[in-house]
């Protein structure tokens, strides 16, 4: 994963030969404003967040697209990761997707017990209460690209036992 501070033009998603770029921005990010696509056609999409409606739109855009295009996702990590997960479900491979995550922003913690996703501003290695089952979850840098979130597991489970 690359951060917004990395020069987008050097991204692995934009090697010579690609025939178009779908640029998706979430929230208020301006990361793609000056994103160079090397002169190939560019389609811009902007969503407030990666909510189900936005992801459905993204899926339908990808469903109409042809091999040869690249997808660039920019914005808060939680939104970018959710969109990357949807793109992977559509069959896109890593080389086709460039992630430009904001340096800071909320993360998604995926509860290993009830499978509910909780969005939090807490840093990695801390605890958060699960919105689904109210369990206090610890999360580390164990990240799932499929669910687009960090694994949360019952805090202090060993001590309780």
């Amino acid at each position: 994963m690359r951060t917004a501070s990395t020069s987008p033009a050097t991204g692995t998603g934009c090697e010579p030969g690609f025939r178009g770029v779908i640029c998706v921005s979430f929230g208020t990010t301006e990361a793609l404003k000056n994103h160079s696509t090397g002169g190939v056609p560019r389609q811009d999409l902007r969503f407030a967040s990666a909510n189900p409606e936005a992801l459905a739109t993204l899926r339908s855009v990808l469903g109409r697209s042809r091999v040869g295009v690249r997808l660039v996702l920019a914005g808060p990590p939680a939104d970018v990761h959710a969109a990357a997960s949807a793109a992977a479900e559509c069959g896109l491979v890593d080389e086709e997707i460039t992630l430009l995550c904001d340096e800071v922003g909320p993360r998604v913690v995926f509860c290993g017990h009830c499978h509910t996703s909780t969005t939090t501003d807490h840093p990695i290695g801390t605890d958060v209460d699960c919105q689904g089952c109210a369990t206090t979850l610890t999360f580390t840098d164990h990240f799932s690209r499929r669910v687009g979130g960090y694994l949360g597991f019952s805090a202090h489970a060993e001590e309780a036992a």
Partner: protein, 325 residues
């Protein structure tokens, strides 16, 4: 002496293999014959991933052949072999097989698997390259996966044409000459939906051309799959030396002699199979020096790492290599 040398080699080849019986031989075309192997006791054979190949032993050598079945709970293994007069002899030996003959074969080996995440499989085959691709087509038909096939063959010389037509229906495009293939290829490469993976098998120049065009049209490497069935013709190479760190031996590898042969002549036993840089069996660890990688097994990254080399075909860029042997 010859008999002993032969025996050593045979043992290496048959390690962890199956002894099977030829259960059917059927002529596909003037030069292509299908051979089916089964367990002599009728047992179910190990299943395999579509696109897998089998290493079949003949005399003192062994060749890899693609399996043409889908691989699910197979009771038989089928290969189709193009007779190559003036080749190393494997295809002639295969064509000489008849029902009831016993052969030693490896377990199926997968190096051309379908991508599990693919939404569509675009299969491209030329000539005898149809064999692993037919395996993919059968698998797709069996599991309801989306697949299409461009099959380049000259009229009357294509193997498995009837099966391909039955399996793929309108998803099959047959091309009889280079011009019409080029037209179809360009159209397909520019109109595939995202999530399509491409699989190509055929002569080396054919595959190189397809893969290069795909890359030029923006297909990332991760979507491109190819199955080489012949190693490139390699030159004799420059002489070099190897320093075997663990055994404290230094050996000279003359031009025209492989490192594998040099190691064997020095009494070292290195597991090996295809001896063509395809199977990956004869990998040796490199401690120092830059190998001249000439195999088709290691990835580009692994070749850059210079920590392993296929001693059957690869040589050295430096005057001397140090190996962990």
């Amino acid at each position: 002496m010859t008999a002993t040398a032969l025996q050593t080699k045979v043992q290496q080849v048959v390690e962890g293999t199956l002894q099977l019986e030829v259960t059917n031989v059927s002529v596909q075309t003037d030069s292509i014959t299908s051979i089916t192997f089964g367990d002599p006791l009728g047992e179910v054979l190990p299943c395999y991933v579509p696109g897998s190949h089998l290493v079949v032993q003949y005399g003192s050598g062994a060749n890899a052949y693609s399996l043409t079945g889908s691989g699910s709970a197979p009771t038989e293994y089928s290969i189709s072999v193009l007779r190559v007069d003036g080749g190393s002899g494997g295809s002639l030996a295969m064509h000489a097989l008849s029902v009831g003959d016993r052969v030693q074969v490896s377990h199926p080996r997968s190096a051309f698997a379908p991508a599990a995440t693919a939404k569509h499989h675009l299969l491209i085959a030329a000539g005898i390259g149809i064999t692993p691709v037919l395996s993919h087509a059968r698998y797709a038909a069996e599991w309801g996966a989306s697949a299409s096939l461009i099959y380049v063959h000259r009229p009357g010389t294509g193997a498995h044409v009837a099966e391909a037509r039955e399996l793929l229906g309108s998803g099959l495009t047959e091309c009889m000459d280079r011009g019409s293939f080029q037209e179809v290829l360009t159209r397909r490469l520019t109109t595939q939906k995202l999530g399509t993976h491409l699989y190509v098998c055929g002569p080396t120049a054919f595959m190189d051309s397809v893969l290069e065009q795909a890359r030029d049209l923006g297909w990332p490497k991760g979507l491109l799959h190819s199955e080489a069935f012949s190693g490139a013709a390699l030159d004799d190479g420059e002489p070099f030396a190897v320093n075997l760190a663990r055994s404290g031996v230094k050996l000279d590898v003359p031009a025209g002699v492989s490192l594998l042969e040099t190691l064997e002549n020095a009494g070292l036993s290195v597991p090996n199979m295809c001896r063509k840089g395809i199977c990956g069996e004869c990998s040796v660890p490199v401690l120092r020096g830059k190998p001249l990688h000439r195999d088709l097994y290691l990835t580009d990254q692994e070749k850059e790492d210079n920590t392993a080399m296929m001693c059957c075909v690869s040589r050295s860029l430096d005057k001397e290599l140090e190996l962990d042997l």
